[in-house]
Assembly symmetry: none
Homo-oligomer: 221 residues x 2
């Protein structure tokens, strides 16, 4: 790990690329060599023999050829390009699909900041890397606890939950107490209690165990 790791970033949101650059530039072992805003640009960039990168950070959703098509391009051309998917899409099917297409890492945008540097270093050195939430998704699908794709039973109900309520719901399944959640989320204990009560009401269950069971059944965790 003495030499610099060269990275190329592809995402249709320029601001996100700038954010990634800011994070990565704090590490002297990594250098960003270029970026692309569409899948087509990525392919053009790598098609040019002069342009290479040890690691490609790739978004799934992009205009003019998406991430899948870029991966398929590499596969078709038998180019052994190391790719880390950076996606807000954390569906197990997506993850499996890109793994099959040969990508070596997958981190979700939620917590990209804390993972991206490690991910780049791991993948550059031949390892694989998945951020925690992605790992959880993979493991869940492994253990067959996934609701078979198709329609989920309570999709509508789940949709009525707000972001914060989901935060609390997830933490409850991890055995967090209200105080611990408040601490972690930087909220008042009263606020967290409010969310819990709201969840109990919305999901029509009796207690936190009911919330946890609901979360499991509906694949929240």
């Amino acid at each position: 790990m003495k030499e610099k790791i060269y990275v190329h970033v592809a995402d249709d949101h320029k601001i996100l690329i700038e954010g990634i650059m800011a994070v990565i530039n704090t590490d002297k072992d990594i250098e960003i060599r270029g970026y692309s805003l569409t899948g087509q640009e990525v392919i053009d960039w790598f098609a040019n023999k002069k342009n290479t990168a040890d690691v490609l950070i790739l978004d799934i959703t992009m205009p003019i050829l998406d991430g899948f098509q870029v991966l398929k391009y590499f596969k078709k051309k038998k180019i052994d390009q190391k790719v880390i998917i950076l996606s807000s899409y954390d569906d197990v099917k997506i993850v499996q699909e890109v793994l099959n297409l040969g990508c070596k890492g997958y981190i979700s945008k939620n917590n990209a900041g804390e993972h991206i540097v490690n991910a780049i270093k791991a993948v550059a050195s031949g390892e694989q890397y998945f951020s925690n939430d992605i790992q959880n998704i993979l493991l869940k699908s492994l253990s067959g606890q996934m609701v078979p794709q198709g329609e989920m039973p309570d999709k509508f109900l789940l949709d009525t939950l707000t972001e914060r309520e989901l935060d609390v719901l997830k933490l409850i399944t991890k055995e967090y107490s209200t105080i611990e959640m408040a601490d972690l989320l930087n909220l008042s204990v009263n606020t967290v209690e409010t969310y819990r009560k709201s969840l109990l009401k919305k999901l029509n269950v009796k207690n936190s165990v009911g919330l946890a069971m609901y979360a499991v059944k509906n694949n929240v965790v």
Copy 2:
């Protein structure tokens, strides 16, 4: 990676610990601070505020609290201990279970020698590490080429539960309160509480939600 990495090793076979020490001592960046022969010893060691280690090398099968229970201890106490599993057990379910419990690396004893130093360094610096064979197992199972294994990882733990404890565990997942359970089972409220407490202790979880989650993971319900 200038400072020394302190390591604690836990395995019920002393000879194996000595072997690990021999391998690790060839690397000047790593120092073994202590070792344990049972899970209980591990917990005692880390429970002592003076004793810490950057990385814990942990065997799964040990007398008096196995590796799972050690991991659960850390989880319960919310101790962010970096753990590498060193196991001869290369079953997917085992691997995914320890990953769920927060362990950061997994190497099989078959080829521990060539991996252990790298694994320690990787995990110490916040990355994850899996030896080749473990990676293959994970990937194979991901792409559905794996025959699902029959036995559950926690069978041992589950087996330690008595009939009554199982009764209570099942009812907890159905959102029963203690009073309701006592009513249904024709028991005193105190008795039901005793079972709940026994469950909490045996399964090493913090609260009823933890019990419910355990039940789900192990197909009790």
